[in-house]
Structure formats: C-alpha cells, structure tokens
C-alpha cells in the first residue's frame, strides 16, 4: 500500500512538471493549430538559463539563501524562455502562417534540433548532464512512510496555482478573451479590433513562461539537467495535452498527472518495469487518439484538414 502511495506521489511530481509544459502545447495548438515541437526545448533552455543565472549572475554571498536565489532563478528561466518563444514565433513560424500545414511542423522540428544543438555546443559543459543547484530547498517531508521531497511538493503546488491563475486570466481578462476569440476565428477576431499577431505572440510567451518555470523546478528536483530533457518531456507533455483535450487548460494539467501516474505505476507493476514505462505512455497516447481523439475534456471534434 505504501509503495502504491509513494508511486502516486512520484507520479504527481512528474505530472506537475509535464502539466506545466503541456499548457504551452495546448494553448499554442488551440490558437494556431501547430504542434510546437520546439516547446520541449524551450523548457530545456529555461532550465539552462536559470542555471546560467545561478552560476554567473547571482552573487556568491546569497547563493545559499533560498528566498532570494529561487525567485531570481525562476524569473530568469521564465524571461529567457519567453524571449526565446517570441523570437521563434517571429522568425520561424509567422512567415509560414498561411503555408500548408506540413511546413510549420517541419520548421518546428528544425527549431527543436537547432535549439538543442545550440545549447549542447555553446553552453560550457553541456555535452554531458550538469549538476543543478538545489541548495536552497533540500530535505523531504515524511508523511507516514511516504517520502515527499520539498522540491517535489513545490512542483505540485506551483503547477496547480499557475494553472488556476492561467485559467482565470484566460476566462476573465480582456487579453484572455482576445486569445479565445483568435482561437475560434482569427479573421472575425481581427474585424472585432483584436490584433491576432500580438495575441499569438502573447500565447507563445505565456506558454514559454510556464515551461521556463517548470524547467527551473524540474532541475532543482532532479538536481541535474542535460540537453536531452527537452525532447522527452516535450513528447510526454504533448501526450498530456492531447489526452486532456487540446485547447483545454485544466485538461492539459489533468492529462499531465495521468501521464505521471501511468509512468510510475507501469514502471512499478507492469511487466518490463521501468525499462518499458515510456512504452506504456505511448500506448495510452495511441489508444486515446484512436478512441477519443477529442481527449478527455476537449470539445467535440471540429472538422480538421
């Protein structure tokens, strides 16, 4: 029983990370119908950006003080990710807005490869995993035999809080309404005085901020990062977004948690163990796409080209 609970907690921690990344996928896909393959790399760059800030920007004296270091790193990760996403949208995706659908998808693959390689080649020491500082939040909490790392708890809390905030922002604010309108019909939205270009850039930036935050939290939880974390977590996050119903905010996060649970539980209980836990995620993905393409919380399927 305690094994099961422990695995559920582990799954929730992984799920929180994946959910945060999935939000970016779901928002971008909802508004421009693009699988932004490079979003996973944005997450990775966010983590590296925070690491760079820790290594070279934050003064030696305050590195151990978590309430100074952590916010600074989170802000740095978020800002770098957002800048990157805006650049990416402006340079790679916007020129292809009216191109056939295959073109931006392949561009996204190209951006993904480019970002990963650029970090691997130009970040000092990134050819192998780099230790990520977590001096500011160590130790764990013991809940009757179940051990929860403090960083893990932070991931779960932050992912839930940010999702709620995002949900509120999109449902209540003026810009959120513009985003929903652009997602429904960009041409009519333009007639209503909305600037679709600005709305789309903002969507990319918001998704990237969440991914950047996730990158920092992930790094301090796992306590090392490598250039490979982007692709794998990106695929999981996309799976989560599809599972939850693409375009749905709460769906993405719930999908993230489901993926987290599937990974840890299948690693524990299914034949093959942790060697095959990724395979089960893909099995879930395929089953969902085949039998419920609109996802768990998605609207009923619109006609897609």
């Amino acid at each position: 029983m305690s094994t099961l609970l422990q695995q559920l907690v582990n799954g929730a921690i992984l799920g929180g990370t994946i959910g945060l990344i999935a939000l970016g996928y779901t928002m971008v896909y909802g508004i421009v119908q693009l699988i932004n393959f490079a979003h996973g790399e944005v997450f990775m760059v966010g983590a590296f950006g925070a690491l760079a800030t820790f290594t070279w920007v934050i003064p030696e004296g305050v590195k151990g003080t978590w309430y100074i270091t952590l916010p600074l790193m989170v802000i740095a990760g978020a800002v770098i990710s957002a800048l990157l996403a805006v650049l990416m949208e402006r340079l790679a995706y916007r020129p292809l807005r009216n191109a056939p659908r295959l073109a931006p998808l392949i561009t996204a693959l190209g951006v993904s490869v480019t970002l990963k390689e650029a970090v691997r080649l130009f970040y000092p020491g990134a050819t192998k995993p780099i230790p990520f500082p977590n001096v500011f939040l160590t130790g764990s909490i013991d809940l009757g035999g179940i051990v929860v790392a403090k960083t893990g708890l932070l991931i779960i809390v932050v992912s839930l809080v940010l999702t709620t905030l995002l949900q509120l922002y999109i449902n209540r604010s003026r810009m959120g309404r513009a985003m929903r309108a652009t997602a429904q019909d960009p041409d009519v939205a333009r007639l209503m005085g909305i600037n679709p270009d600005r709305t789309i850039v903002l969507t990319f930036a918001l998704g990237a901020v969440l991914a950047g935050v996730a990158g920092v939290l992930y790094g301090s939880h796992i306590s090392n990062i490598s250039t490979d974390i982007g692709f794998q977590n990106g695929i999981f996050a996309f799976t989560a977004a599809v599972l939850g119903g693409i375009g749905s905010i709460r769906g993405a996060v719930i999908g993230g948690f489901v993926i987290g649970f599937v990974k840890t539980l299948s690693g524990q209980y299914l034949p093959g163990g942790t060697q095959y836990d990724y395979v089960w995620i893909f099995v879930v993905l395929i089953l969902v796409l085949v039998f419920r393409p609109q996802g768990l919380f998605g609207e009923t399927e619109r006609v897609r080209a």
Binding site: I35, L105, Y276, F291
Partner: protein, 587 residues
C-alpha cells in the same frame, strides 16, 4: 496587393530582353569572374599546408595551369561571358544561376581561407603581396546577379519534345552519362575528409557551388525540363540507362572501397526515402517514425542470418530473408497505419512518432532477445554468391573493382527496382487515389475512393520497401543495433524527402544523397552537423518549401502556382482582364 506591376506589364517584362545597361554590368561581372581564377587566392602558406591547386602565392608559378576549383570557376565564368555577350533565351535566369554559383565558390573559399589563415590578411595583403582571387570571384558573381535584378525573370523556354525516338535516346544517354560524371566528381571532390585532408570540406562545398551554378544555368535555358520530359516519355529506357550508368560508377575515380561503402549507404537510405515518399509525398500522411521499418527489416534479416549472437541460429537463403523482412515490415506498416482510419493530420504524425519511439525503446531493451539491446547484433555473415563474398574485391571485364562493390551493385538494382515500382504506383489507379487523398480526403471519399484501404496500403507499401532496404543494410554493415534507428534518423529521412521535393523520385534520391554524403565530407564540422541540419530545415521550409526537384503538382499545391510555374493569382488576373476586354469589345 503587394505587387504594383500589372499582369500585362509583367508578361511584357518576361519576354523583354535585358536592358543595355544591365548587360554591360553583366559583361563586366563575367570578365571579372574570368580574371578571378587566374589570380592568386592565398597570400601565404596556411598552417595546414599549401592551399590546394597552386593557389597560394608562393606556389603561384603557373596561373594558367588550372585544376580543381579554379578550373570549375573558369568554366562558369566563360559560360557567363557567352551568356552576357550573346542574346540567348532566358538570359537573366542563366546569368543569375551562374552568378550565384560563382559567388558561392568565392564566398566559401573566402570564408575558409580567412578562417584558417587567421584573418583578412590571408586573402588581401601580406608583405606587400595581394591575393584577390576570392574577392574577385565574389564581386564578379554579385555583379552578375545584380544585372538580373529589376526585371522579372523570363519564362523557362520550352523545347520541342516530339523528336524521333533515336534522337531522344541519344539525348538521354548523353545527359545520364554527364550525370554519372557529375556524381563521380561529387563523390571524389576534395577527397576523403578528416585530419589528413583539412581542405576537403571547403573543396567539396565549392564543388557543390559549381554544380549548383551549372545546373541552375541549364535549368534556366530549359534543358533540364526538356530532359525530364523526355525521360518521362521513355520511362523504361531511362531507368535502364540510369541503372547502367550507376553500374558504371565503380569504373570511375569513385571506385574505391571507401566510396563504394558511402554510395551503398546512400543507396539504402535512398530506397528507404522513396518508400517514405509514398507515405508522405504521395498520400500526404506525415510519418515521424519511419526508420522503425528499416530497423524491423534489418533485425529480421539479422535474426535469420545465422549470426552467433542471435537466438535461433537459423540461416536462410538471402532471397527468402528479403521476402520475410519485407513481409514482417509490411505487417507492422499496416498496424502502424491502422490508426489513420480515425486519426488525421498532426495527430497522425504523433501516433507514428509514438510507434517509432516504442520500437526504439523495445529494441534498446532487447525485447524477446531479438535485438541484442545495447550490444547490438554483431558479426552478421557477409552474403556469398558468384563464388565470392560480397565484401571482397573482384575482377570484372579486366578491371579491378574494390571491396564492397557487389553490395553496391545489389543496392543499385534495389534502388532501380524501387524507383520503377514507385513510378508505376504513382501513375496507377491507387497512386491517383493517394494523391486525391492528399489533396482533399473528404472529396476523395466522395469520389468513391476507399480512403481507409488506400491509406493503409500506402503505409504497407512504404514499409515493405523499407523492410527490403533493411535486409540489405543488415548484411552490409554486419552489425545491427537500435542506435541506427533513433528519432533523428526518421527526421533525416523526412528531411531527405522534403529537401528533394515531395512526391518526386529523383528528388528523394538527391535528398538522401546530399544528407548522407555531406556528413562524410564535412567530418571537420562533425560537431556542428546537427545544428546546420536544424537551421537548414528551417531555411528550406521558409524559402523553398517545395524542395530542390519539386514534383510539378506538389509544387503547384505548395506555392500556389500552376504546373508551368506561374503564380495562380497572376494567371487568374490575366484571365479576368482578358474577359473584361472581350466584354468591352462585344459592346
């Protein structure tokens, strides 16, 4: 409207000759380009040794003894002189092509020499000596290109194709022979990369610039289109000649064991890329896990080869192994394709990616003891036949051929076969059904096409081709492990198809050749290979989404042009204005 020129004016511009001033500019550019190869290119001997081709100042004793890249440059430049002095058809297109080629050669060597020589001093002045060769080439090339700006490009001239068959055969023979020569030169240009030959990469890239300039000029005057129309008219003859030409490759300069190995690998990936072309190019179903089928074919063949590391120790005849590999890969193809019944577009891409990752993970974990896991399956025996092992050197028609040449012959036959299958499929009923599905699935279904069957069949055919290629791959490399079949390999194959031009056969072969030869040539940039690859993907999608050799219909679909290359908007506008003029006349 961004275009302020009226369609009629544009039409007039297309047919009008280049203005006198621009022609003078072009002639100046051409003459500067002719001078460029006769100048020295480097002011001193670089650290890695003399720059090839006597172009270092110290070695500059015989400026007219041109070889290598300077000879290529001179050829382009002389062509440019001819094209700018005489009034040839499609002058601007030809001049632009040549200019880009000349400038490319100049830029590549300029960058390389300054990079290696530690700054501008290497190409301009050192100790009072000047070596302006590369600068002159850049200036000449740019002048040629500038001379073509300002007026719209002419239409590509259409040559007569209703010529008697013997003449057509002769033209095809000559052009394919030239192609063989070009391929052989491309393979050997710059020699093997690596530490022993630090200039290989630059020489090879500059050769590519030369080839691109030459081909652009040929395509500008309409020669390439003429040849391709002729080869479509005489399809079987062309395939036969192409295969014979390919058989001739080992008899040229490229006939060493190293280049045979490279050519064989390129052939394997080309066959696979053509298979992928069925799925992506014809049917429009994006497959991001395609390399898994190559892997399945390879692992099946490895397990049936009697290699010591396998589970069963069965050894079957190669022909049978090929059939079984193809069947197994085909079955998996149908399974992977089955979600297409319900899943469309981007979602399908993700499903195929998931299948690809599942295959890769299973192979990595040595599923059922069939894949060898991280140890791979080593020591797969070489194929035997004709009284020799396939990797041994042989004597043929009195010529000594290097090792691995039989594999090369085998793969040439395979690629020829795959090309023939693909060409026939494309023009068949099922091929047209695939294209219809690509264009509009709902409309295709309304026209009575069984879209589900057709889509699964596309996956099945693609997978079978990849499975066959995989069987050869296993014996050729003699080691099969999961590392050869990771996501990047799928992306590279996809990029080969897109780079070449989706739905086009020569495009897939060209794309595969470029993407799998370049890493061999650019060893010294090996670290940056993937970075360059990623940037190239972005740039290709931005500036040439229809690939290098686009399929005419596919191109029409991607860039909104009709099949003869005119923008659809313009065509529509001309038609409307013509109709209006008619109406006025009628009144």
């Amino acid at each position: 409207m961004t275009n302020v020129v009226s369609p009629q004016a544009l039409q007039a511009e297309r047919t009008s000759p280049t203005s006198p001033m621009m022609r003078v500019l072009a002639i100046v550019g051409a003459v500067v380009s002719v001078v460029a190869p006769l100048l020295p290119w480097v002011t001193f001997v670089l650290n890695d040794g003399a720059y090839p081709d006597k172009s270092t100042l110290q070695f500059f004793d015989a400026p007219f003894e041109l070889t290598g890249f300077r000879w290529e440059l001179l050829l382009l430049a002389v062509l440019a002189v001819i094209a700018s002095v005489f009034r040839i058809p499609a002058q601007r297109r030809v001049l632009r092509g040549l200019g880009v080629g000349i400038a490319a050669i100049g830029v590549i060597h300029f960058l390389f020499i300054t990079g290696h020589g530690g700054g501008l001093g290497a190409v301009t002045a050192a100790d009072g000596a000047f070596a302006f060769g590369s600068v002159a080439a850049i200036v000449g090339g740019v002048l040629l290109v500038v001379a073509t700006v300002g007026r719209a490009m002419e239409d590509v001239p259409v040559w007569r194709t209703d010529i008697p068959a013997p003449l057509a055969y002769l033209a095809l023979l000559v052009s394919f022979g030239a192609l063989l020569f070009l391929v052989s030169m491309t393979l050997t240009a710059g020699g093997q990369g690596g530490a022993a030959n630090p200039y290989a990469g630059a020489i090879f890239l500059s050769f590519l610039g030369f080839a691109a300039g030459l081909l652009a000029a040929l395509s500008g005057v309409g020669a390439l289109k003429w040849i391709s129309t002729l080869s479509e008219q005489h399809r079987w003859f062309s395939i036969l000649v192409l295969v014979i030409c390919a058989f001739g490759l080992p008899f040229t300069d490229a006939g060493t064991e190293y280049w045979m190995t490279v050519a064989t690998n390129v052939g394997i990936y080309a066959a696979t890329a053509i298979g992928l072309n069925i799925v992506v190019g014809l049917s429009g179903l994006l497959d991001l896990g395609y390399v898994a089928f190559l892997g399945i074919g390879a692992f099946v063949a490895a397990n049936l080869s009697g290699a010591a590391a396998t589970k069963f120790h069965i050894e079957l005849p190669f022909i049978l192994v090929v059939v079984i590999s193809a069947l197994v890969a085909g079955i998996f193809g149908a399974v992977v394709g089955s979600p297409t019944l319900r899943v469309r577009g981007d979602y399908l891409a993700i499903v195929t990616l998931a299948f690809g990752e599942m295959f890769q993970l299973s192979a990595r974990n040595n599923i059922g003891g069939l894949t060898g896991g991280s140890n791979a399956i080593p020591n797969i025996p070489q194929l035997e036949g004709f009284g020799t092992k396939f990797n041994e050197p042989i004597d043929l028609f009195g010529a000594k051929l290097p090792g691995g040449v039989i594999y090369y012959f085998l793969i040439v036959l395979l690629v020829g076969l795959v090309m023939a299958v693909f060409a026939n499929l494309k023009n068949s009923r099922i091929g047209r059904a695939w294209i219809a599905i690509r264009e509009d699935e709902d409309a295709a279904r309304a026209m009575g096409i069984k879209t589900g069957q057709a889509k699964i069949l596309a996956f099945l055919c693609g997978a079978i081709l990849a499975g066959i290629a995989g069987a050869v791959f296993a014996h050729k490399t003699s080691t099969v492990g999961y590392e050869s079949f990771q996501f990047m390999a799928s992306v590279t194959l996809l990029a080969a198809v897109i780079l070449g031009g989706m739905g086009s056969i020569p495009g897939a072969v060209l794309g595969a050749s470029l993407l799998f030869v370049l890493p061999e040539k650019l060893r010294e940039f090996a670290d940056y290979r993937l970075l360059i690859f990623g940037v190239a993907l972005i740039l290709i999608m931005r500036f040439r989404p229809h690939g290098l050799i686009p399929d005419r219909h596919r191109r029409a679909e991607l860039v909104g042009e009709d099949t003869s290359g005119h923008s659809l908007d313009e065509v529509a506008e001309v038609r409307i204005e013509e109709a209006e003029a008619e109406e006025v006349k009628a009144r």
